[in-house]
Amino acid sequence: MSAQNALIRVAIVEDDPRTRDALAKAIHQAPDMTVLWTENTCQAALAALSRPAADVLVIDLGLPDGSGIDVIRAAHQRWPSCHVMVSTIFGDEYHVLQSIEAGAHGYLLKDSPAETMADEIRLLHAGGSPVSPMIARLILSRLRADGPQASDQSAPARVPARSGVTMSPRETEVLELFTKGFTYEEIAQRMGVTRHTVQTFVRRIYAKLEVGSKIEAINAAREQGLLRV
């Protein structure tokens, strides 16, 4: 790790052997990364967390013995510096948002070409997080401080604005541009900042989502009398 050109160590949790192999192959082909270990169950993955931390953890949610969400949560706690990305076919709300709330930083589309996969991992490791327009819209509806707007009326009713966590105007602007289909570079250009700044905004937003979900969990627990504060 001390060396600048140290390899990105990737851990993989995936139960489908072909997907696992394809992913491992893509990483192997990349000169700057290596597969630390691969596991195919929740149990094994949780056990593997006691080993030295990986730089990136790629994880599938639908594991044979449970949900990858638990592993994401544990990994976020045990390996604070590790970038977690959820591996999904569609990059849909169900998979991505709940992973972000559990502490994930991004997602990896399973049908991406090998080079794209490596790029995504690299990007994540460098501090960037992919944001699809749909995900951006959902996050907006959850974290928007000034209440729902006209475009959010059609948003699912089960995602009310989270209490305790609000976004800054700049963060909101970033997300709104994502919903319109702009890329990191285009957003950075439009806002007159560097791509890195936009990445920072997104990471912050993701962190707020996670905090928001934790606050919600605490509130829920307090309401149910499970927790006394």
Binding site: F90, D111, P133, R137, T179, G181, T183
Partner: protein, 665 residues
């Protein structure tokens, strides 16, 4: 004369005795009405009181009903002709046939007292009843102390006389009390026994009789009249229920009837004859009204009986109208009219009882059974009125009336309360029915929604099926054939599969709830297609602007838009050989336009279409689909040649397209 008791003179013992009587006075009302018959002959020990059950009577022909009696008389003016009579004393009325001059008779009753035997004090004469057509005067030791005023006919026949008999300035007891009665000989005379004694000894006796005899009938008849007026008001609002009106009529007649029990001592407001007319007829009408009431309680109606009762009563009433007969004649006719009325009474009462028992209507049974009691009571009163029985008796019909009204009232108010309850339960039923209806409505609504949901699901499924069939399915099948025929290489297979996955992703994106946002839809498209554009080395310029939301876009139309643009992109990537694509949006009047510019080889749609039909390539089929989808949306698709390359424009209406349902066909 009988001296009831003689107490000792010691005032202490008298007081003791008086206080023991106080207990009696309290007990008296409790013993009450049941003991009323025994009142006159009560042999209770009393002090300083004489109960005269005998008197000396002198009867003289002549006298005047109108002239004032002498103020003083000579005590020894007449010593002969006195004879002893027992009290109560009655001379029956005579039924007169002719119209000869009325003969007047004066009767004197002497009540001697041995003054030496009594302690001094205020002495009172208590006379429970005197009844005749005439006047009564009272003399104490030859001096006039009372003279009855008002009408000679409607004198105070039912009001007990309560007269002080101690002369002013005299402390000794009176020696002699004289009663002078001047009356029509034909009217007979009824005189009760008399009491003379200290006020405290007699007051209870007097008050009790007064209350029972005068005040109870008067007060109850007033109370019934008040209820009757309430009943009348009910009837005004519910005129289809005559029972309420009949109750009012009965209460009014009863009230009129009871007036004469309280008359006397004062000038009447009405002439004697009119008062008599009212008194006489109100009873008969009361009986008839009671029958009419009973007949409406659910028993068999006898119209002929009702008619004859009404006719007979009308005749009686008309016959006795004042002016037809003189007051004296009226008084004499009264027994006959009473007789006719009782005939009617007996007729209707027994018919009512018989019909009620047959119909087993309890209320009617009660009313008519009580009505039957009227007959013996009426007979009693008739005898009393005609001085045929003891004048100390009470007139019983008022009490009978009270009982009757209690039943009457129960019936009427049971109806009233029953009607209220009925209304309430009707309300409750209405509410129950209403909520039942509401529930049924909710159920059918729920069913409708269920059906609607089912239809939506079916439509959604059809939409996806259609899409899968045209896109994903056909791509996979053709890829399968190609693989089986060995025409496809590994890389081509991967390409086909990628396209299939893209198709799938767009289908999923079309389900996004934010599809009214066209820019958002384009963003989703870019997100899905950019990897392939990147892979093909095409640069994408994203120049979208905010446009108004298109409220009409639903998942189906959203997918159409995505597929149209997907087709356009695919064509550009596959056939145009473009290096740069620019996507833009703008609003143009009532339409929103999406433009896709490329810098590839020129593309003329007509030519392409011709080529497509000629060669039957997938490109041609894609354009067909594109046109079909655009038509479904009410959208326009156009291609223009640019200086270098082609511009594609998809123009969507802002408002709802004319026939969005065409997608179903």
């Amino acid at each position: 004369m009988q001296r009831v008791s003689r107490a000792c003179c010691a005032s202490e013992r008298s007081k003791v005795s008086t206080s023991s009587k106080l207990v009696w006075r309290i007990l008296w009302p409790l013993v009450g009405f049941a003991l009323w018959l025994g009142l006159a002959s009560n042999a209770r020990a009393e002090v300083h009181t004489v109960h005269f059950q005998k008197a000396q009577m002198l009867e003289l022909a002549g006298g005047s009903l109108d002239a004032s009696p002498p103020v003083l008389i000579d005590g020894n003016w007449q010593s002969d002709g006195w004879r002893e009579v027992s009290l109560p004393y009655q001379v029956p009325r005579e039924t007169r046939t002719g119209q000869e001059q009325e003969e007047v008779v004066t009767r004197w009753f002497r009540l001697p007292m041995n003054a030496d035997e009594y302690v001094t004090g205020d002495f009172f004469l208590y006379l429970p009843r005197w009844q005749t057509i005439g006047r009564l005067s009272v003399y104490v030791d030859d001096r006039l102390v009372f003279h009855s005023r008002g009408s000679a006919v409607w004198n105070a026949f039912n009001i007990p006389l309560w007269q002080p008999v101690t002369l002013p300035g005299v402390t000794t007891p009176p020696k002699m009390v004289l009663l002078r009665v001047v009356s029509l000989r034909s009217s007979g005379l009824g005189l009760s026994s008399a009491w003379i004694g200290h006020q405290e000894d007699l007051i209870l006796r007097h008050r009790l009789r007064e209350i029972l005899q005068v005040q109870v009938p008067f007060l109850t008849s007033g109370a019934f009249l008040a209820l009757g007026i309430f009943s009348l008001m009910v009837w005004v609002k519910r005129s289809h229920e005559p029972a309420y009106a009949l109750f009012f009529l009965a209460s009014a007649f009863f009230f009129l009837r009871c007036l004469h029990y309280r008359s006397g001592g004062r000038q009447l407001l009405l002439p004697d004859d009119w008062f008599g007319w009212i008194t006489l007829n109100s009873l008969g009408w009361l009986v008839v009204v009671v029958y009419l009431f009973t007949a409406r309680l659910g028993i068999r109606r006898l119209p002929w009986l009702e008619r004859s009762a009404l006719t007979l009563m009308t005749v009686c009433t008309a016959l006795t109208v004042p002016g037809l007969l003189t007051a004296a004649q009226l008084a004499l006719v009264a027994p006959a009219v009473y007789a006719v009325q009782w005939l009617v009474n007996v007729g209707v009462t027994f018919s009512a009882l018989w019909l009620a028992c047959r119909a087993r209507v309890h209320e009617a049974c009660w009313v008519s059974a009580w009505g039957v009691l009227t007959i013996p009571f009426g007979v009693h009163d008739w005898l009393l009125h005609n001085r045929l029985i003891d004048a100390e008796s009470f007139y019983l019909l008022p009490y009978n009336g009270i009982g009757l009204f209690m039943i009457f009232m129960t019936v009427v108010f049971r109806r009233y309360v029953g009607a209220l309850n009925e209304a309430e339960s009707a309300n409750r039923q209405l509410e129950a029915r209403l909520s039942e209806r509401e529930a049924a409505l909710a159920r059918s609504h729920e069913r409708l929604r269920e059906i609607e949901r089912g239809q939506t699901r079916v439509q959604e499924r059809q939409r996806l099926m259609q899409d899968m069939h045209d896109g994903l399915g056909s791509s996979l099948v053709s890829a399968l054939y190609a693989v089986e025929l060995g025409q496809l290489k590994g890389e081509d297979v991967a390409q086909v599969l990628r396209e299939c996955i893209d198709d799938l992703k767009l289908a999923i994106d079309s389900l996004e709830p934010a599809h009214t946002d066209l820019v958002m839809l384009l963003a989703a498209l870019r997100f899905r297609l950019s990897p392939r554009l990147q892979a093909s080395g095409t640069r994408l310029e994203w120049a979208v602007e905010d446009v108004p939301p298109l409220a009409w876009i639903d998942p189906r139309s959203a997918l159409h838009i995505l597929r149209i643009l997907q087709e356009v992109f695919t064509n550009i990537v596959k056939h145009a050989g473009a290096t740069h694509i620019r996507v833009g949006t703008r609003q143009e009047g009532d339409r929103v336009c999406v433009t896709v510019d490329d810098d590839g080889i020129g593309f003329v749609p007509d030519q392409a279409a011709t080529n497509a039909t000629a060669s039957g390539t997938t490109k041609g089929r894609g354009l067909d689909n594109l046109a079909r989808r655009a038509a479904t949306l009410g959208a326009r698709v156009q291609w223009w040649p640019l200086h270098k390359g082609t511009r594609f424009e998809l123009s969507l209406p802002l408002a709802s397209p004319l026939s969005p349902q065409r997608a179903n066909s």
